[in-house]
Amino acid sequence: MIHKKVASVSEALNGLSDGMTLMLGGFGLCGIPENCISQMVQLGVKDITCISNNAGVDDFGLGLLLHQHQIKKMISSYVGENDEFERQMLSGELEVDLIPQGTLAERCKAAQSGIPAFYTPAGYGTEVGEGKESREFNGKMHLLEHAFKADFAFVKAWKGDSAGNLIFKGTARNFNACMAGAARITVAEVEELVPVGSLNPDHIHVPGIFVQRIFQGKKYEKRIEQRTVRPRN
């Protein structure tokens, strides 16, 4: 077994510097790497490019980094629910590249898989397709989209072991499983780091080969963005 466990979040982010491109897992606030984000706020790294489906909310998730003006560019599919984001985008302080969600996921997956580029119909005939190579397959037009290149991927899982194997819970799997192994260094933070051998190999969602560093995170807030319930009876 190859040991991936690091002692702390500060060790996990060793080598992170200004101007880097980062992948961050999560959908909305579900399954975001809370510990890595807090550490980046503490470190004060600047001019970072974030590949993340969303941009957090004003006071949580990536919103914390936006508030400190640490993000130069966001590559996302949906960025509503964030006033500071809107202000920075409209004032030109923040670059924003909006891309279709399935294309975002597949560009991560392609980076993970060593596929340099792929064709997808999403966005053909819209401004997303402007300046991109297009080609017809089976009578339908497609756009050429390229794999991402990133320095770090920060992913969050439910359980993991020192070998880097990951198991997710519910819809918190989302982009986390696509981003693991898609950057030069993948850091996984988990709610529970269990002893090697205690996870059933049949139940692993992300094999440890895709993870370089793993640690048990602390104080997960797991904030709910839209609490929707029905009354009992």
């Binding site: 909305g28 579900c30 599919s77 509503g80 279709p100 294309t103 597949e106 519910g170 989302n174 839209q226």
Partner: protein
């Protein structure tokens, strides 16, 4: 004239036994409330769940189980979770049978615009561009006119497009329509709405053939 729930009710009649269905945010979400109880179907949400159930009871909400609208949800027996790339394999690979989504504008050739108003807030397209580019069966749920009373069924969309030539059917507060090679074909009138009212509220080419029945809802 229909309200939002009425539009959802009409669209629910188009959901067939055995369908996998993706519901967009807004009116489409309401469709789940009106599907006949005697048919089997599963709702897919693009953030990574198939077999979505109703909202949880108070106190049972789980931050790790949400839908694409970031709402807390439950799952039904037979449900599954998966990553975002797998989710869009279901969508792009045409494994999802029906896509229901909202729109700001629809053109008579089936173009749809629903993600951006230039100069105002741009929230992003989310999964809408992937959905409309690949889905074979797309129904749009929307009001027939905007807040200023202007038609949302146009000859050409004025807003940035989400997809081209993809919308098949449209349910509005006034009518149920089909997109054809020659324009919007009026299939049904909403209760109490005249053909003239629909003609007046439609900027795009409207095909009215024979007697147009009133919706049965």
């Amino acid at each position: 004239m229909l309200d939002k729930n009425g539009i959802a009710k009409r669209i629910a009649q188009e959901v067939k036994d055995g369908y996998y269905v993706n519901l967009g945010i807004g009116i489409p979400t309401l469709v789940a409330n009106y599907v006949r109880s005697d048919i089997e179907l599963e709702f897919q949400s693009e953030n990574g769940v198939l077999g979505m159930g109703p909202f949880p009871f108070e106190g049972d909400e789980d931050p790790d189980i949400i839908n694409a609208g970031k709402q807390t949800i439950t799952t039904l027996p037979g449900a599954s979770f998966f990553d975002s790339a797998t989710s869009f394999s279901m969508i792009r690979g045409q494994h999802v049978d029906l896509t229901i989504l909202g729109a700001m504008e629809v053109a008579e050739n089936g173009d749809i615009a629903n993600w951006k108003i230039p100069g105002r807030m741009v929230k992003g397209m989310g999964g809408a561009m992937d959905l409309v580019a690949s889905a074979e069966n797309i129904i749009v749920a929307m009001m027939h006119t905007n807040k200023r009373g202007e038609s949302k069924l146009l000859k050409r969309c004025s807003l940035p497009l989400t997809g081209v030539g993809c919308v098949k059917r449209i349910a509005t507060n006034l009518a149920f329509l089909e997109v054809t090679d020659h324009g919007f074909k009026l299939l049904e009138r909403a209760p109490g709405v005249s053909v003239e009212e629909i003609i007046n509220a439609t900027e795009g080419t409207l095909l009215v053939e024979g007697t147009i029945p009133e919706m049965n809802i």
